[in-house]
Amino acid sequence: MIKRILIVDDSPIIHTLLRKTLEKHDFEVCGDAHNGREGVEMYKELKPDLVFMDITMPIIDGLEASKLIKEYDGQAKIIMLSAMGDDDIIGQAEELGIDIFLKKPFDEYKIISAISKMI
């Protein structure tokens, strides 16, 4: 069964690059959210198998959005994909139950390896 992935990032180029990589490897991008609030709403509506979540976004950031998604669905699988990556922010993500934290920029190998550990 094709795995369905939701992308939450405020940058159009990240959506484009991720979609190219994911579709090349036969994943379905089931939704494109451009801020944390949209990400939470789309998660509830689409029930994806996995979420790629940015941190720095308008309205609500990726950490807050991940917290809300995890409260709604404790089994939610989220990969953080951020330009930020200091020890404190990684610690906050771990506390939320985020298993994988990737730093931008990314390449195909990084993305596919991370997915294979999650689903």
Partner: protein
């Protein structure tokens, strides 16, 4: 503010552009005092960050370089630097450069800095006025055009 709070942005700009687009930036080894106005070379992006201090990074580049970066990173053939995806590429490069530099500052000096979403704008010879704040600039050169960065911290350069 000590130069050690500015230098990571030069290193990060060179590293990230090389990693994302495979091109070397010549120069951009040191930073010089900038006062008053900056005249944009074509496409500019500003990102602010705040924690124990507040600051911002301005990345400015020539139109040809912006187009080359967008076309290389996205595998497309844009010809208009005003295209939303070209502007978005410059904006995301600024985001990643800043994220990389402030990650290093946070880990080294516990500055607790967090980024705000970047802003991008275009217009050759547009004047960017930055009154009442001292900042440092650095110029770099690529075969596709010039790039400069300007870093400012609240409280100035001392």
């Amino acid at each position: 503010m000590d130069k050690k709070f500015y230098q990571p942005f030069c290193r990060s700009t060179k590293d990230i552009i090389k990693e994302m687009a495979g091109i070397e930036i010549e120069g951009m080894e040191s930073m010089e005092e900038e006062e008053g106005e900056i005249s944009s070379m074509g496409v500019s992006s500003i990102i602010t960050f705040a924690g124990t201090r507040k600051g911002r990074l301005l990345v400015d580049m020539e139109l040809g370089l912006a187009l080359y970066l967008a076309n290389t990173i996205l595998g497309e053939a844009y010809t208009d630097a005003m295209d939303r995806m070209v502007l978005s590429t410059v904006s995301e490069i600024n985001n990643i450069v800043s994220g990389n530099a402030i990650t290093s500052l946070n880990n080294s000096y516990s500055m607790d800095l967090r980024l705000a979403p970047p802003v991008v704008f275009t217009g050759q010879d547009m004047v960017i006025s930055i009154p009442k704040i001292n900042s440092l600039s650095s110029q770099g050169y690529t075969e596709y055009g010039k790039i400069s960065i300007n870093v400012a911290w609240e409280g100035g350069n001392k």
